[in-house]
């Protein structure tokens, strides 16, 4: 009993360490990728090619004064960033990095991830409302409208994979792709998933909630210091989650020749991360009305058609 508890705590701590390191690396990668897309060098001064820049930035962020403005709703203002990080963290408890490396293999893993990530919406709403600031409130509105709209094509694009694997268990889904990854049978589903997921994670070109030019920074405008860094952390954690989920659902997870499973998994995830960064630094941001009509008039019908055709094909096969 006690040994089991200790092992569980160790696993939870290991996930935390992994997440922190991943985010450090992701932020560094984003800065470098964006720089090279704009024909710049990016961070170069601290360490080799700016390799230690992120550590310096983290220390700076954590030591900054944590300001709580006077008229905020103090408790809600305090809880929102924590909830945001926790909901991003919870998804990792069932993500399989390899057949062995998974904290808890849930029978309904996919549904669980979709469920806990929907808590993020609440934290953004709480942050926007508690800040007592019109830009924060508008940013909160926008992000919630966006996330709940894009959740529909997201789930619909994932369903054909579930039908083909016959399970919601992420490990079973990966093992069902032994002969061929689902991206080859579900190319449209993959594209729909990646688009909707990028919108879910507030990545450009769907980063309307924090459109700097019009909303200052959206829901997190009143936050500073460690509370701000929690929102920031959660954003990058979510980016890794959606790429990991895409790798599991469509690219065959950890499967691949020669290299150990974890390496294959990370290669696939980081490939997708690079694609997302590429998109972010190449396309301009959509307007809010374009964003909504894109979701409801293009993504949703396509996802429904894809779902219908996959279902028919599975029944008639």
């Amino acid at each position: 009993m006690i040994i089991g508890l200790i092992i569980l705590l160790l696993k939870i701590a290991a996930v935390l360490v992994f997440i922190s390191l991943t985010v450090l690396f992701l932020v560094y990668a984003e800065r470098k990728v964006s720089a090279h897309f704009q024909v710049r060098y990016g961070p170069m001064r601290v360490g080799w090619h700016g390799g230690l820049q992120m550590i310096a930035d983290t220390i700076k962020l954590l030591l900054k004064e944590d300001i709580t403005p006077k008229d905020v709703d103090k408790l809600v203002f305090f809880i929102a960033p924590i909830l945001c990080f926790v909901s991003a963290y919870l998804a990792y408890l069932t993500l399989p990095f390899s057949p062995q490396i998974v904290v808890k293999n849930l029978n309904i893993g996919l549904l669980y991830i979709l469920g806990v990530t929907s808590l993020t919406v609440l934290s953004l709403m709480m942050a926007g409302w508690a800040s007592n600031n019109k830009y924060a409130l508008l940013g909160g509105f926008r992000s919630v409208a966006q996330i709940i709209s894009y959740e529909i094509p997201l789930v619909l694009s994932v369903l054909p994979v579930v039908m083909m694997a016959g399970s919601l268990n992420l490990i079973t889904i990966v093992e069902a792709q032994k002969s061929l990854p689902f991206i080859l049978v579900q190319p449209l589903g993959f594209l729909l998933y990646l688009t909707a997921a990028a919108a879910e994670a507030n990545r450009a070109p769907f980063d309307i909630p924090e459109a700097e030019q019009e909303l200052v920074a959206g829901y997190n405008v009143e936050y500073s210091g460690i509370k701000f860094s929690m929102f920031f952390l959660a954003e990058y954690v979510n980016m890794f989650t959606i790429c990991a989920l895409a790798a599991i659902l469509f690219l065959g997870g950890w499967q691949g020749p020669i290299l150990p499973p974890v390496i294959w998994f990370l290669i696939k995830v980081y490939l997708l991360v690079f694609v997302l960064m590429w998109v972010r630094w190449t396309f301009p941001r959509l307007r809010i009305d374009q964003l909504m009509s894109f979701c409801w008039k293009i993504l949703l019908p396509l996802a429904l058609a894809n779902f219908l055709i996959s279902g028919l094909w599975l029944v008639l096969k």
């Binding site: 809600v76 029978n107 808590l119 509105f141």
Partner: protein
């Protein structure tokens, strides 16, 4: 131990939902109550039910409620009336609820036994598509009607 923690959290937050004066805080405590219920489902080895509770109640219904609160102008200026004089209807409702709950508890053989090969998603899906297909379709139709009705009411022209 875990059960009592969740149960106390649930009851306390449920009380706060109806006694707090700020409607946004009430909604937040309703979320805590829903989370506690989801926790109870997980604790009672029904993870599917717990996750569905999260997705539907928090991901959809509570977001809708929060949206409605935040979009209503000046709602936080007004303090809610937390006491009501309608004690007799409330008492009636409570009595009916307790009777129904006791009746259904009485009818359920406890502890319930489920088969070894019970798969919540598979069996639930099969039941919804065979034995309960008519109620399922009726509920879907009802939801669709509500949706169309809401749009028709909200349209300006």
């Amino acid at each position: 131990m875990i059960f009592y923690f969740l149960a106390v959290t649930l009851i306390l937050s449920a009380i706060l939902v109806v006694t707090l004066k700020n409607i946004f805080h009430c909604a937040l405590f309703l979320i805590v109550a829903i989370l506690a219920i989801a926790g109870l489902y997980f604790h009672l080895q029904a993870p599917f039910l717990g996750v569905v509770q999260l997705i539907i109640y928090i991901g959809a219904i509570m977001v809708l409620i929060l949206f409605a609160i935040m979009l209503t102008s000046r709602i936080s200026d007004r303090l809610l009336q937390t006491a009501s004089r309608q004690s007799i209807p409330a008492l009636l409702a409570v009595i009916v609820f307790i009777l129904l709950a006791l009746k259904s508890l009485d009818k359920t053989p406890l502890p319930a036994h489920i088969g070894k090969n019970f798969d919540p998603i598979l069996d639930l899906g099969r039941a919804l598509m065979t034995a309960y297909v008519l109620p399922f379709e009726v509920v879907s139709l009802l939801l669709l009607v509500a949706l169309v009705g809401a749009i028709a009411l909200a349209r300006k022209d």
